[in-house]
Structures are given as structure tokens and as C-alpha cells.
Symmetry: D2
Subunit: 437 residues, 4 copies
């Protein structure tokens, strides 16, 4: 059977930090124990079907630049088959155990909705077989509710109920496909859900539509016995001017307002957090302290560009801060680190896909090692514990216990000397963080 | 008695759009009826004590530039007295019925907390007398929990419980002062509440502290019988790197999570919305559709600058969009339009304060007139009504009524023809909006 | 012969500000005199071939949404013919006298370079005939050096000399086509000229390549007797991370450094200026005071989005500030106002193209009227003249005349009293500006 | 004699990467050879007088928080004396050989200009003595033309010639002071030079004023025999809306336009580059390839905040990219790395100043080591050399040699096959860069 990456060895080796081999890992050693888990278990890396196998290098100013061997086919379905085979070959050679997809990545849109569904079912069978052959698993599935022109005015928040219905029917099949493939999560990325201008928009109504859509999804999953985790992925804008799933806090607000809080966790993407004006670790933390950090889209944006560049991470410090959040909550559970990232448009070759993933995985491996050691050494935790010590005793404990009032605290202030000013030691802590990298 | 604006007439006139008199209103005519209310009743303009009377023109790179006659005094308390007299003279001549203040604007910080409280009480008596003399009222009071070095690591979210207590005691007096002056709202602007770095921060704990603080405030208001509206004002950053009251949605999330939803509304500021990546009308709408738009800080930022420039509004279209939200919710109720805005540092003179306010008030008056007429003509409302018509009947009505499922909608889709694509007509609607200005 | 806009009247009427007809001009009255020129002569509006006739509504997340009647054809050349006929019909009905194109807008890329050239020549003949039939003229032509994959690593600054040669050959034909069509300008929009990462880039060498390319273009124009104005269009980024033609100042620097200053002017685009961190009027002014403002791409971005949204202008104040610069330099000469703007992706219909252009043209007409009256009344000019009066006499005149030194000025300072501080009156001036709108 | 940092050892030790001592260097070892120079010679670190000794922790929303022992004095001049002694003690203990100052950092503004000059002269004597005692040298001096209210409408570009004269007189003394102290550079940071609104600004005139000012400075330096390097420091905005020294390219344009090119180099600051929308290495490269990289302000901004945060660098990759530019141009010559950076407002203590500088110096040391090794190994240089190889021979060589025209290149294109597409290998190169860190 045809191979799509003939010049890549069966499995990329780990050669350690000294290696100059661009096709070897310098830090990511899947079987290496870090605490009580292997690196692979900690990070649960996934390859993103859309960027890695379906992207063409097209951008708003230019035509496709990537000429992948798996797109040369006599029909869309043949192309889909080549693609899925390329995907599993890639993941195997890379040494990654998971993948993620949108329904329309895996199988082409048909002439009719029924044909689209049939295409998807056929491709699910192919993927299922390849999963069995290789041991590679589905981290999550999702539905593409943004590519087709019918979704130009969005899917669940569309002013046309007919299109809402279309989105519902499509997600039904995407969830079913995810279940069939043993996917442990299902992601809702609103894509375009939002508005271009308030001049033509009834925001309240659209929010209610979105809530109704999510309730239907919950009901459907229950009915078919899908027990994967539902995840919503925040993004503030792009392509739409304003997107309703702006950031972690906005989604949590929506879930609370519409009685959906128990049914969803979040899939946090680095580049989406920064587009919303937050650091990656900020949105991870907001999700985590609310018990809602479900999975991560591992990428990075360019801080000087105002759109989602979806680059592979290269900064170990960013990854260390992310892994600190993950380790402190006891891991990602069913979730993983999905590389929602793409090589630049001028990185034409298949080998660039390998270089890019190696770079991202090595970077996260460095971050994991640093985060683990920082926690082992307790350097940050002890500092924080001491910093808030006044709340574990005395007046602070009473405040948090609900035993104080504005009046009692006024009495306290009038009796005490002025409080001491304690440095936050930001510069020392930054220096310590970097000493672990 | 000394007058502080000797060259300004007793009351600035309305002269209409043709006037070239820079000290006359061209659009703001307080007694003009717009629908069933006067312009003054619709907008309830307020002067901000801090920018207009206390600002010095100091910026991070330079010393004060404004030399106000009311700061020349022999003691801080004498200066405070001159200032309050200047404030009421200014508001009267401008023809504005409300003002807003922080506790430390009105009265100077003393050597001790007790002295600060005594100073505040004395100045509240002065202000009360001036309110009676002039008929000018307090729109809202608030406490400055960000200026003093004790709040460098913030107030309610301070890692030191002693400083939490200090903030509590200070807010107690600020609420009491607001009540004494008949203030109809009390604003919480978190100021610095947030963090500089997550390396030294326990975000979950800090959120719990903030919730505790707000519950105490609710209890205190109840106890003393303060029935003004509590308002929280979002701001995403500046001076702090990340502020917890990021935007309207984030605050609503917090209020829901900590059982505070019924006790607070929001005070939305234009420049804070844009710093958070939202348009002014976006954050107004988010607040309004949740029943939480309480009051407005009327200003504007420079879209090319990354900090809060607090400029007076000059764009009638922006104000029309804001007033559309206000009119649709039936007005601001107890709230108003507070000019949280300042002349540029090089606008040295007292007369620049008048020019600036006139500019802002005329701009909002143009916005009000346009918004009112747009609603009267129904142009936007009818368009929106028709756009979502599919939800008022048939499948759309059943979806929103909870009578459909993913499966029933799939059956619907399979039976129906493809949905039609309807233009959102953004460009036509923008053109219509501007034809009213 | 087939008409492409059957429901649009032969020529859109001017109906004045009171009109509610969305297909009528409210402010743009082409024959109305404003000073010594008609509105049409002042603004020289042009339609952009690429956005208006070639755009599909595709965006990075979704497929084409516009289904234009002129794209339904049996071959690319037939499609090109329908398109050019649609373009002239559109411009005539809109009442606009100019258009602008890229070579690949007008004629499709062929299998070979020779075929591409032949296609272009054929379409130039068609366009020439239509120009004669309608009186509509070519404001400028340009070459698309960014769409084809060969230009992924850019054109003139490509590391491969073969691709430099390709770009040179293509621009040769584009200039020749522009000459053939009587185009009065030729625009260089670098498109991708710049870099994605400095890790693989020799910036100095690439700048030298770009300079060489421009010198060749100057030589070629001279040789064939093309006397149109060469224009360079700044853009800081997108699609490329960093583009060499960052803003007006950067291009002027480049032109001076490489002995090209006399041969080029600038084509300033509003949305490109704001992406570079400047206001539109800033970059217009930088170009103008250097004698280099040649033409304008009339559009606007969304200040809250970080990419080029290319929207039609709706803010009369922005247009007034732009037209102030234009009027002060005595008009645009050979240049014009080209609508490098597109309807939103969800504005599916051909009629939206008309709504959008009407909106843009009316907005600029309001700006022109205001700018003209402001200059007539002298309000801003007199203020500025007085503000700098100290340089027209005495010490200021001597300074600018080169008669003073640091030492003589020290003596002056020591003898004089402290300088007075004069307000810049920004708020008053803003108010005056808006009183003209 | 009083010591200001009693708990800090005489000289901070180098202890290597394994050290947990927050008061030791882990990477910066001043005497370690890197190539043919020591680390100290490569980097020529300087302490910034303003941030380190004069900053108070004040910000736009809050009062000073730092209580430095050297500010407790009976008079401004006594305070100045304590401060200069603290400065030299700090630099010695830190192990840094240079410092930088503004005139008003070193000595207080007096009642009159003459008194200000006298104050400066006295303090220059003190500093000169301390330089002799310690061997610490002046990297550069500058004048503060932005703090005093007289400069609210700027200095050299002030509409009042009297204030231009004041600025001239002040810079005269600042240059003289720099000469007296053996300073090897003199920096012009425009500070506020620019405009708040074009409504009151004559940009052309202001540029001419600025040019005149610089010519006078050149003349003055020549006259007194100051042979230090003149440097201009770009910054795009803050405090002023638009600053004329926007970025490196803008300054080069200005220097070329006004016949000043030979007399100035640039002082590039990381945080100013990023505020202008550029990466640090971008603006360093622009300066360097024009032979104009004179010195560096070593700091970093927060990419999510829109103002100059002036933080100490913590990212070794950023410093490696910077040092690559420096090493490739053969070092900084007279220039150095000046820490124009400050601890956060809540880092109250003197010891935080040490932590912060150690962090910055260690980060740059890591960058230097990586950059040196990358150059030694030739990994990037060889890649780039090969990437542009087509210009060293054949058609590329002829293009750059001026032997080709658009026509000859068309013939070339018609004869040759299509060019091959070569990947830019960005991801591989990023991975290689990080493998050196």
C-alpha cells in the first residue's frame, strides 16, 4: 500500500538535547516518567486533522501552496480515503496517540445533506479500522458549522430557523460519529456564532437560540448514550466581528445563565486567549478554578498580529505556565493537547509538518519538566501560601468565614497599626521560573 | 463669595446648530421634549469630580500642568472647601444636574483612618448644603481603593487581610456618605482588583475574597437602609495587568457564581469597553439584555492608543448607538451619563473644561435625537423583526418552545429544500443610521 | 445584450438628505460645485475591480457566498468578458468615472506565462472598447504579485532570482496594459513584500532587490513613454508578518535611500494606515507635506479587529479630515478616491454592492462639504497660524533662519521671563470640526 | 559613610545555572570569554538612573509606593547627593560598569533656569568624583524635555519659539555635562515631540523645527569638541498620541530628508519597537543594516498591554535574537545595553532592584551565549546563504549588477521552466534556535 511520507522513518527517535537531527526529539521522550505518569500520559498530544491534512496554504491574499500527495485522487471520496490513511501514517511516525477532526475534514460535503451523512458514515468506518490497526485514538470530534455558505449568518444563532435545524442535524451526526469512533470528548467551537453588526442583530434572542441548541445536544448525547465530555472552545472574534464564546469567563456566564453549567467543560486555545486580551495561563486558570478545564488547543499566536496565526508553540516558559495549571488540577483527565497549529504558508513540504510538530512537542516537554520540578520544589506554592497566610488565621479567617462585617472591620482598623507593605517579588519569581527552563 | 469661573455666564445658553459661539450648546437643549421626556431627563448628565476638579494634568512622563484657582489654599481642608464650591459653580453654569465623586476627591486623606473619616464627614456637610442651595444632586458616590500605597496589591483581593479590612472600613464610610447626600447609586470600580502576575497569585482565593467583600457591602446597605442601586464598573486592565471586572460578561459570571446577581447592576464606560476589545454598544447591550444596565460613564478612548484616554465623546454615531440601547430598555432609571472624561494635558485653562463638556453634551444630544427618530420610524426594529420572523411561527417557534430535538430537526431538513440565503444588509443599515445624523 | 443589474435604474439619482430611497444619493451630487470644482472633480471616485467584481465572499474560515451572474460562464475567458461588461455597467449606473484593476482581475492566469500575457492583451482590448463606449476611465492599474503560489516567498524580494524575473516580466505587461488603457497612474502594492521570520531572511539584500526592481520599472516606463504617475501603497502587515512598505514614512525613507525619490508618490489607504498604528489623516499628512500624496484608497477598518476589513467608510468626520489634507494640497491631481472596500460576506446580493458604494460616496461628500466650508471660514487655519506666530518674527524667525545657536538661545532664555503656557484648545477645535458635519 | 544597601554583599557573585541563590548570577559571568571578548565587553550593561534611583512607584492611578532611604533629606540638593551615592553603590554591588541619566535625574530643577544649571554643575562634580573612585563610567547622558509643564506642547516642536529656546539652552548644558563626565554617547529621546491632534498642528513646520534643533546640537558638539556619538531613540506614542520618532525607519527618513544622516545613530528600545508594531529584532535589524545601531535600551513590554511597561527582560530567545544582530555587526561599539526597566509598583524593596537587574542580565547572558554558538556553528548563516544563492551567480547576479531589464527578464522567463518552490523552513529554524537555549 502506498505510503505518503516515504522518507520519514517508521518512528521518530528521541535523541536528547544534544542532538542536531531535525527529525529527532530533543526533549519529548514519551515513555519517560515525570512524577507518576509518562510524558505521553501527561500530555496526550493530538494531531489536528484540518491543519495538518486538509490545509492548503491558501490565505486571504493567495492561492493554495501545499501540494499534498494524498489530494491527488479521482473523486472526493477517494481523496478522503487517501487523506485518512496519510493521517494515521503521520500520527504513527510522529508517535502521537490521538487525533481530532471536524466532520467535513474526514468526509466531503455531498450534494445533499443525506449524501453528506452517508459520506461521513463511510469515512468513519475507514477511520475505525485504522484506529484498530494502529492503536491511535480519537481525542475529540466536532462539526464544521462555519465553512458552508449556509452558515454565513451563523448556525445556532442564525436568524433563519431552517439553518438552525440544519446545524442541529449536522451536529447530531458529528456526535454519533464521535461516539462510533470512541471519542472521549466532543467540542463545540462556535466558529461564527456571533454578529457582524448590532444593527441587524437581536443579541438576546440569539443567546436563547444558542442555549436551546446546547440543551438539545445534551439531550441527544444522553439519548444515544454518548458519555464523552462536551467542551466549548472560546474565541473572541475572527472570522466574525464579535463571537459569543469570547473567552472562558463569558462562556461560564452563559452556561450559568442558561442552566447548562454541569454539562460542559472548556477547550482552551492559546491563540484564542491572546486574541481576547488574556494570557494563555490566564484563561487556563479561569477554566481550572471553576473545575472546567477539559482540554487544550496547543498553539501560539503572534503578539504583533491581530489574527489567529495558529503557530506551533516555541516558548518553553509559556508551556511551563500552562502545564503548572494542568498539573495542579491533577491532569487533563479525558482531555489532551491538540496541536491546532499549522506550518507557515511558505513551508511547502510534508517534512515541514514533522519539523513543526517536533518543535511543538519538544517545547511542551520542556514546559512539563520545568512545571513538574517547580511543583516538586514547592518554590511558587510556598511563596503563595505564605503570601496569603493572613487568611488562614485571625481576622482573615473570620472574614472568609463570614463572621465579620464592615462595622466590625472598621473597629479592627481603628485598633490596629497601619498594615505593613510586602513586596510581591514579581521579578524574583520570574527569575526563579526561568531558572527551571 | 469668590467665584472660580468669573468669565463664564451664569448659565450656558442653547443657541442651536447654526451658532458659532463656543460657549453655547448647539444641540443640547435641556427642556426640549424628545418623546415623553426632556433631554435632561433622558440623559441625566453628571460631572465627574475627579477629572474636572481634582485632575492636575500630571501624566506618567510629566508634572501637573493645570493651575486651578481652587487649589490655592492654606490647608488641605480649605482646598477641599474651595473645590466643592468650584464644583457646584461649574455644574450650575454648565446646566448639569448631577455629580459623582470618590470619597478622597471630596475630602483629603488624613494622617489616620479616623481623621480621613472626619474629613469626609465635614465635606459631606458642605456638599449637602450646596446641594440644597443649587438643586444639584449626587448621581453616585464611590470609594478610592487604588490611590493610596496600601492598595498597591489591591483592596478586597489583597493577600493581606488587614488591607481587606481597611478597604471594608473605607467603603462603609463611602456608602454612608452617599446615603447622607441622597445619592441614588453607589459604584464599585475595582480599580486595581486583579493581578500583576499569576506567579504570586491565588486567583480562586482572590475571587472568593471579592465575593465576600460584596456580600458585606450588601449587608451593610441593608442595615443602614441605603436603597440606592449598587453598580459594578468593568475595566479589563490599567493600572493592573489583569483586572477581575474585565467586562460586562465577566462581572455577570462572577455575580451568578457567588450569589450576588440580584444586588448589582453595571456602570458601563465606553473606554473600558473598547480596552476590553468590545464596542461601547456591545457592552451596553450585554448589560441591558441581562437587565443590568444601570448607568453609563460617557467618554471615549483613542482606538489607536492602548490606554484609557478618557476623552469627551465627539462621535454622534457612537452616541446614537448607545442611546438606542438606553431608549429600548426604557431609559436609565436611577442611572445617568457621567462624564468620566478629561481635557488633554495641554488644555490648561478652566474654559477648556467648559468647551469639553459642551462638546460631549452636544454629541450625546445629537445621538439622542437620532436614536429617538430611528425608533419612531421603526427602521431598524422592523428590519430585525422580519429578519428573525422564522422563529415566531412553524419550526422556529417549536424549536424555541422546546418541542424539537436533533432527530426531529434532521427529519425536517431531509424533507425541506435548501434554505434561502438572505443578505444581512449591513451596508444599507449603516447608511440608514448615518442618514439620521 | 445581457444586463447584469437589471433591477437597478440607468443612473442612481441624487435626492438630497431627506430622501429615504436606499438607491439614491443623499449628499453626493456629482455636478454640484464646491469651490471651483464639481464634487466629481474633487473626488474622482473609482470602483475597485477585485472587491466589487471578483470577490467571492470567501474568508479564511468559509467558502464563497456571493453568486454573481457574471461568473456563470463556459470558460475563464468568457467569465472575464462577462465580468468586464458587468464592471462597466456597474460603474455607469453608480455614476462613477474611474476604475482600478490588477492584471489578474481583468484576465485569468493561463497555463503558461505567455498565455497569461495573451489573455491580458485580449481583455485590455475589451476594456478599451468599453472605455470608449462609456467614457469611464482607468484611474490606475497594478499587478497581482501575491496570489499565485510562486509568490509565496514574495516577488521582488524573493530569495529566488527566477521569481524576481517572473515578477519583472509580469509588471512589464501590467504597465503596458495600463498605458494602453490610458491609465493615469500605476500602483505598486507590495502585497507580500516582506518577511515571515528574520531567521531565514537577509533584510538588507531584500531591500536592495526591491530597489533594483523599482529602478527597472522606472526605466521601462521611460522607454515605452508611459507618463502616468507611479504610486507605492503602504501596508504594514497581512498577509505577511512584516511588510517592507510599512507606512508612508518607511516608504519615503526607502525612496530616499535608494535614489528613487523623484519617481514615486504614495497611494494611501485608510485601513492600512490604521493597521500601522496611525490615523488615516496622519499618513495622508505625512505623504502630503513631502509632496507625495498621489492617490487614496478610500475605505475604513474596524478599530477593534486586527486585520484589514476593507469596509466602506461611514464616518463623515474621518472623510472631512482626509479632504482637508486633499484640499490644502490643491487636490489629488491625477489621483482619485478608489473604493478598496467590500461588502461583508453576508451581504450576498448585487444590490448590496450599490448600497455599499452609495454609503461610501455620500460619506465622502459630507466630508468634502465640511472640509471646504472649514477652509472657507478659516477657523482651523487661523488658529494654527496664530499658534505658531512666534516663528514668523523675532527669535522664532531667527531660529528658523539659522541665525541662532544653543549658546545664543541660552542668553535669550536667561534674559526673558518664563514663557506663558497656552492651551492647545483640542476640545474646542473638535467641537468646531463636528459643528460642520 | 552611610551605605544604602547594607544587606547586599560588596559584589554579587556568579554561581552558575544550578544556584538557588536569588542574589547570585546564574549565567552572567563578566570575565568569561565569549569569542574574543568577555561577557562584560560584549554587553556593556548600564543602570538607568531614572527608573532605578528616581522612580517612586507612582502610576496614573496611584501615589508613590517606594520609600527609598536616599530620598530622606533636608533639601533637594542633599537628596540629589544621597541619590548619586546610592547609584554608584548599587552599580558597584551589581557589578555593572556604566550608567545613564537625564539632567533632571541627577540634579533638581531650580527656581530659575540659571539655578537649574548651577545644580547640574554641582552634581556633575559629585558624579565625576564617584566615577573616579569606582571606575564606573557614563554610557550616555540626555535631557529631560518632557517632565516640566513648559514642555506640555513639546520642546523643539513647540509652537512657541520661546520654549524651543528653553529646550536648546537645556540641551546645551546636558551635552556639556555629558562631555564633562566622559560620556561616550548622548541620547535624544523626543519624549513628547509629536502631536495630540492634527487639528491644531502644522506637521511640516514642526519637522523643520526639529531638524533645526538637531543641526544646532551638531554644531554645538563640534564647537565644544564633544566627540561622543549622538543617538536618537524611537518611540511611537505615549505620552503623546503621535510621536515623530515613531520607529527606526521613520527616524532614518527624517535624518535623510534634513541632511542629518551622518551625525546620528539610533538607540533602540525593545518596548518602543513593540509599541510601534515591530519585533525588537526587527527594529534592531533596520538600524543595523543602515549602519545606525548605536546602543540598546534593554527591556521588554507586555504584549497584551498597550503602554510602555518597561519590564526587565526574561525571555532568552528574544535576547538571543537581539545579540545575533549585535554580534553580526561586530558589537555595539560605543553603545551598550541600558536597562530602561523598572520593577513593578508592588515590588517595594531595594532588594527587588537587585533581583530585577540580575534577572535581566542573566537573560541577556543566555542570549549572548546562544547567539555566539549559533554564529560559530553557522546554522542560520549557512541556511540564509544558500537560500539567496541564486543572486550570487547567473541571472540573479546580473539583476543585482544592473545588467537586466524588464524586457530581458521577460525573455528569460519565457525560455525557462517554471521556478521550483522551496520551503522557507521556518518551523525547523525556530526549533534550531530554541535548541541553543
Amino acid at each position: 500500500m502506498k505510503t505518503f511520507f516515504p522518507n520519514i522513518p517508521e518512528k521518530l527517535p528521541f535523541e536528547g538535547p544534544g542532538s542536531k537531527n531535525p527529525l529527532a526529539y530533543k526533549y519529548y521522550n514519551p515513555t519517560q516518567m515525570v512524577g507518576e505518569k509518562t510524558m505521553a500520559e501527561h500530555m496526550r498530544f493530538a494531531v489536528a486533522y484540518w491543519h495538518t491534512f486538509r490545509a492548503s496554504g491558501q490565505d486571504p491574499f493567495g492561492a493554495p501552496t501545499f501540494v499534498r500527495p494524498w489530494v491527488k485522487a479521482d473523486s472526493p471520496m477517494e481523496q478522503a480515503e487517501y487523506t485518512v490513511r496519510a493521517a494515521f501514517e503521520f500520527a504513527q511516525k510522529l508517535g502521537v496517540s490521538f487525533y481530532c477532526f471536524h466532520d467535513r475534514d474526514l468526509a466531503p460535503e455531498g450534494e445533499t445533506f443525506a449524501e453528506s451523512c452517508a459520506n461521513l458514515e463511510k469515512m468513519v468506518e475507514k477511520a475505525k479500522q485504522l484506529q484498530q490497526d494502529t492503536g491511535i485514538k480519537l481525542l475529540w470530534g466536532t462539526a464544521n458549522l462555519f465553512g458552508h455558505p449556509r452558515y454565513a449568518h451563523v448556525a445556532a444563532t442564525n436568524p433563519d430557523a431552517h439553518i438552525f435545524a440544519h446545524a442541529a442535524a449536522q451536529v447530531k451526526h458529528a456526535i454519533a460519529a464521535t461516539k462510533e469512533l470512541g471519542g472521549v470528548n466532543y467540542v463545540f467551537w462556535g466558529g461564527r456564532e456571533g454578529y457582524e453588526t448590532l444593527l441587524n442583530t437581536d443579541m438576546k434572542r440569539e443567546q436563547e437560540q444558542m442555549a436551546r441548541f446546547f440543551h438539545m445536544a445534551v439531550d441527544y448525547a444522553k439519548q444515544i448514550g454518548f458519555d464523552g465530555q462536551f467542551l466549548i472552545e472560546p474565541k473572541p472574534k475572527e472570522p466574525t466581528k464579535h463571537q459569543y464564546d469570547f473567552d472562558a469567563a463569558t462562556i461560564l456566564e452563559f452556561l450559568r445563565a442558561y442552566d447548562l453549567f454541569d454539562h460542559f467543560k472548556l477547550n482552551i486555545e492559546a491563540n484564542h486567549a491572546t486574541l481576547a486580551g488574556h494570557s494563555f495561563e490566564h484563561d487556563l486558570t479561569v477554566a481550572s478554578i471553576n473545575g472546567k478545564l477539559g482540554s487544550i488547543d496547543a498553539n501560539v499566536g503572534d503578539p504583533l498580529l491581530g489574527w489567529d496565526t495558529d503557530q506551533f508553540p516555541t516558548d518553553p516558559a509559556m508551556c511551563a505556565l500552562a502545564m503548572l495549571v494542568v498539573l495542579k488540577q491533577g491532569g487533563l483527565g479525558k482531555g489532551g493537547l491538540n496541536f491546532d497549529a499549522k506550518p507557515r504558508r511558505g513551508s511547502f513540504d510534508e517534512i515541514d509538518l514533522f519539523y513543526a510538530h517536533i518543535s511543538g512537542m519538544d517545547t511542551f516537554a520542556r514546559g512539563l519538566l520545568a512545571a513538574h520540578q517547580i511543583i516538586e520544589d514547592g518554590v511558587l506554592d510556598n511563596f503563595i501560601k505564605e503570601r496569603y497566610a493572613s487568611y488562614t488565621d485571625g481576622i482573615g479567617k473570620q472574614i472568609m468565614g463570614g463572621q465579620e462585617t464592615f462595622e466590625s472591620l472598621e473597629q479592627y482598623v481603628l485598633q490596629e497599626d497601619d498594615p505593613a507593605f510586602k513586596s510581591g517579588r514579581q521579578e524574583m519569581l520570574e527569575s526563579i521560573l526561568h531558572s527551571y527552563l
